[in-house]
Amino acid sequence: MRNVIIVVTALLVVASTSVDAADTGDVIYSVLFPGWGQIRAGRYGRGALLVSAEIITLTGLMMADIQYDRAVEQYDRARAFYLNARYIGDAHYYFDTMNEKWDDAENLHTYRTILLGTAIGVWAAGVADMMWGGGGDGPPLSLDVSNGGFIVSKTFSF
């Protein structure tokens, strides 16, 4: 977890020192939520991809966090029962339960760290894309005249 914080801090420092060169209006929205700035800039495909990735990752992170807290509570409860057991059968039962919940908490902690890192990565990618990803897209709508008619085309940029 400490490594994740260090990486995020480094990314934030880099981002905050070079943000002046970017289009600040859309970058603000991209900082608020990954993909928002891209959508505002007309890069719908990339924006939708970032928004979807962030929502999925944050949902998974929230669920892993809730389950981790629950596993820790169950572990603490089993540990208290184990330490206060007055019968060897209860002691064995709560010792096994305690070990099982410990393993659950360890696994969920790993998942939570991975998902947190992914969410931060998506967010950083969104911000970096707004600042350095280039925005040279054409107009979102174009009108072409062909044989006896018009073609209105919508441009999606990824």
Partner: protein, 130 residues
């Protein structure tokens, strides 16, 4: 403006990481040393009573507080305390004839910690009506 927002996001992340629950720590291992289980447990039927007997290692008697005698209900897989004794025998009285009673016994040491219970012994009590 953007720098402030980035700082807010960073603070939120650090709070999320640091405000989570932590393990209290796993005990190093199973460290209970229970008293030995009574052996040779037997139940014999009497008239409206059941007589229970068992044996116990002599070297463990100094740390023995008492024996606990339980009814065992197989359909619930539960026990109910009948009584306690410091002897290696016990008589359960005022029972109903022609009814099966199941028993388990355990030893409790002077630290009030109870060891494993014996296997179940069942007995059908004799009726007082002939």
């Amino acid at each position: 403006m953007i720098r402030a927002m980035i700082c807010v996001v960073a603070i939120a992340l650090v709070c999320f990481v640091s405000c989570g629950k932590d393990h209290e720590g796993l005990p190093t291992g199973f460290d209970y040393d229970p008293p030995p289980t009574p052996s040779d447990f037997q139940a014999t039927a009497g008239v409206e009573q059941a007589h229970l007997s068992w044996s116990y290692p002599a070297e463990s008697l100094p740390t023995l507080l008492e024996f606990r005698v339980y009814y065992y209900y197989s359909i619930y897989d539960m026990v109910e305390l009948v009584g306690t004794t410091t002897e290696t025998e016990f008589t359960d009285t005022q029972l109903i004839g022609n009814v099966e009673y199941c028993y388990r016994v355990s030893a409790v040491d002077t630290s009030d910690f109870e060891g494993w219970r014996t296997a179940v012994q069942c007995v059908t009590v004799l009726s007082g009506f002939r």
